[in-house]
Symmetry: C2
Subunit: 208 residues, 2 copies
Amino acid sequence: MANMKLTYFDFHGGRGEPVRLALTMGGVPFEDDRVAMADWPERKGGTPFGALPVLEVDGKPLSQSNSINRYVAKLTGLYPSDFWQAALCDEAMDAVEDLTNEIVPTMFMPDDEKKVRREELAEGQIPLYLKRLNQNLAAHGGRYFADDRLTIADLKVAMLIRQLRSGILDHISTDLPDRVAPELVEHFQRVMKDPAIAAYYAKRGVEV
Amino acid sequence: MANMKLTYFDFHGGRGEPVRLALTMGGVPFEDDRVAMADWPERKGGTPFGALPVLEVDGKPLSQSNSINRYVAKLTGLYPSDFWQAALCDEAMDAVEDLTNEIVPTMFMPDDEKKVRREELAEGQIPLYLKRLNQNLAAHGGRYFADDRLTIADLKVAMLIRQLRSGILDHISTDLPDRVAPELVEHFQRVMKDPAIAAYYAKRGVEV
């Protein structure tokens, strides 16, 4: 197996977390390079597109969250081989990325602007995406997003639901997912009960 | 082969064009459902995430540009089977999507706001991404983004370069790609010379 190093911010979530979980589930050892926010300005310029996560495979960098997710998922058996099922897996991951692209910029806004923008998202794009993801989940059997089993798409969606319910996003009510997409919350809980994932967080003292 | 219908806006470019080109290159017949802008408001609600393109495969919808690109590329032999080469292909597509996510909102801004935002992009994110894509191209052999042959990533990047050089984006100098990423311009010209692509545009009277 190649030498793997994942560089991402130092918290249990976000765009880098599905990679950590997938590598853990697959039993693939990797260097977990966690960047403190204070060190980010000096490290930003050295990344392929000024962003994290970055996965280095035998020293060769790969950027773009979902590109990394897909690569790692193939290595760890968490990606469908059937073309259509793979497309459904990709679709869910890209939809989460769409929403992440709306949420992340609010983290760097002044408080008043942040409040306006987050309330707008909480009324608009977030429930829209959650409802449509909920519909997709139902259409694909109700338990998982693709291939009738846990794939990388489930990890990606679960991290979004966890973020929205965590209380870390001021001005977005933490019961929004429960209200508009209850099956996504059940899905999140199903994913978190996966033995490898539960063990990963238990070991780190993280409540899920 | 399944029944394919691509729904996208009625112009030769953007997020739907790589799918049209890939299906054409692969000789896969498809219904080319082109939505006039005037009809979009009434059709928007019927799409999976309020956005185009959407590919219907035997009536089942698939959304998200790069998810559709990847699915169609697998069907038409334009996607690498090697995991690492596939990841490089994905990385380039996702990078173009990042930039597209910055450019598209400017199309709906009032003129003064549009000017400010586009000038900011022309000084910042656009040259950054073009330079990094240029570096990736060079790092992967200089001719194509992955697998040492034309893949779906090349179609996606080529559509971006064509858009930037076309003059359709006021306040962004059309010589920006030539100045900051000359090898991407040569790459664009290489892609456009592919016999199937050249024939596709010639048949439609489109200058490339």
